[in-house]
């Protein structure tokens, strides 16, 4: 009876804090978490192609996640995905999956019709000291500097492949609770070099492949500069 009460108390307290992951042993594997945003009842944005075809953001992000997972697995990178099908996941559950993975990089994949190129977003939380227990809603604060470094690496890789990239900071619930270097990647319609606006469809297969290849290249570079045991900020 007493143990059940203790369990109830812990269940009430634990979601409010995130237990910081202990650093993996030297030589441990390099893990990337891919979070295909939305899913199930949450369809996300409606993406329109130049020919009038429509696609839901939840389907687009899942396809991008699958494509990226294949590219990363082929390069020997372990991948943990938050969803593999059209299921509803709340932001807390996504962060829980990412935090349990002990990952060296966490990407939240999104798509939108506004703007052009690829938008990278980092948490707007100010950097904070690392601690064993951190508030759940601001767990990302200790990882902000590493997230900025990861975004810079992805920015370089995307720009190197000829894509327009913008970097911003914003408040996103699922990112703010992640205890790993985390970046939200939002894919917008393609913009050709020298053009001032969108010039291609977001659903274009070649464009998707270019974005996925560039992100994979950025993560490979991130792996080369990030010791596997250095997950803690």
């Amino acid at each position: 009876m007493r143990w059940s009460r203790l369990g109830a108390v812990l269940a009430a307290v634990i979601p409010a804090v995130a237990l910081a992951q202990s650093p993996p042993a030297p030589g441990s594997r390099f893990v990337v978490v891919l979070d295909a945003a939305h899913g199930g009842d949450d369809a996300g944005a409606k993406l329109l192609g130049p020919d009038g075809s429509a696609e839901l953001e939840k389907d687009y992000t899942l396809a991008l996640s699958v494509r990226l997972r294949s590219l990363l697995a082929a390069r020997g990178i372990s991948v943990v995905t938050t969803r593999e099908s059209d299921v509803t996941l709340d932001a807390q559950r996504r962060a829980e999956i990412a935090n349990h993975a002990g990952a060296q990089a966490c990407l939240s994949l999104h798509a939108a019709m506004s703007g052009s190129g690829v938008h990278l977003f980092i948490s707007s939380l100010s950097p904070a000291q690392h601690a064993t227990f951190v508030p759940w809603k601001t767990a990302q604060a200790a990882w902000t500097p590493r997230s900025i470094a990861l975004a810079g690496m992805l920015n370089s890789a995307l720009a190197h492949s000829g894509l327009k990239v913008t970097i911003g900071r914003t408040a996103l619930t699922m990112i703010d609770s992640m205890t790993c270097p985390a970046v939200a990647v939002e894919v917008a319609p393609e913009q050709a070099a020298g053009s001032s606006g969108p010039s291609g469809g977001i659903g274009d297969s070649a464009y998707q492949a270019q974005v996925a290849e560039a992100i994979a290249a950025g993560l490979l570079e991130w792996r080369a500069t990030t010791p596997a045991e250095g997950q803690n900020p």
Binding site: H38, D42, G44, A45, K46, E57, H110, A111, A112, M113, S114, G115, S116, H119, L120, F121, S124, L125, S126, P127, A128, K137, T138, Q140, A141, T144, N155, S156, L158, A159, S161, G162, L163, K164, V165, T166, I167, G168, R169, T170, A171, L172, T173, D176, A184, E186, A188, A193, S196, G197
Partner: protein, 218 residues
């Protein structure tokens, strides 16, 4: 047998009744026309009695993820609450206009209310700053109550939602420097996100440089 004078009187009364009926019918038509004419010329909005002043709007641009400073002359009420509502209404009118660089439907009607309160130096602000900068004493919290129709019709996406929030916060800061924190409600209630992405449950610090910045260009 009806006397002759009664017959004549009856005919005269009948004729008088018909004439009066016709006159009344015409008077009714004229009154209806006057009513319609009066409606056409009735003022559809309250006259602007506030003096025209310069207001600084931080206008979002989706093309380059930037906030552009635009100075406009607007009739601004003297009170800070009315002033805040006026500048935000004008900002959202720009977004609702055809060909806007940051297209968002709704316009000024999307701002249901703006409340200005003393800033609360509590953990609420920490949630957005992660223990970062704190508002100085005397600074204020602006609570912006948006309409549900605005939130429902707002385009979905991290960039577009972030730009809307940032431009509202920056515009409030530019015109009401005492506003250091901004919270958002939708139809008077807390809401998780604006349109599926940007977190509306937290307090935004207007001094926090969370705006999008340009990345490397190919």
């Amino acid at each position: 047998m009806i006397p002759r004078y009664q017959t004549v009187l009856f005919v005269i009364l009948l004729a008088a009744s018909m004439v009066m009926g016709a006159v009344l019918w015409q008077l009714r038509d004229r009154a209806h026309q006057r009513l319609l004419a009066g409606e056409d010329s009735a003022p559809t909005r309250a006259p602007e009695v506030a003096p025209v002043e310069q207001a600084t709007l931080m206008v979002a641009n989706d093309a380059d993820d930037s906030l552009e400073t635009r100075i406009l002359s607007l009739p601004l009420p003297a009170g800070p609450t009315g002033r805040a509502r006026a500048v935000l209404g004008r900002l959202l009118d720009l977004y609702a206009a055809a060909g806007a660089a940051h297209p968002v439907p709704g316009g000024a009607q999307a701002i249901a209310d703006v409340f200005l309160l003393p800033a609360k130096h509590s953990s609420d602000a920490q949630s957005s700053a992660g223990g970062g900068s704190r508002p100085a004493s005397g600074e204020g919290l602006a609570v912006v109550n948006l309409t549900g129709a605005f939130a429902s019709s707002h385009p979905s996406g991290i960039e577009t939602e972030a730009l809307t929030i940032l431009s509202i916060c920056a515009t409030l800061r530019a015109n009401l420097p005492q506003v250091s924190e901004v919270r958002f409600l939708v139809d008077g209630q807390p809401r998780a996100t604006l349109a599926g992405h940007a977190d509306l449950t937290r307090t935004y610090l207007t001094s926090e440089p969370t705006g999008p910045a340009g990345g490397d260009q190919p």
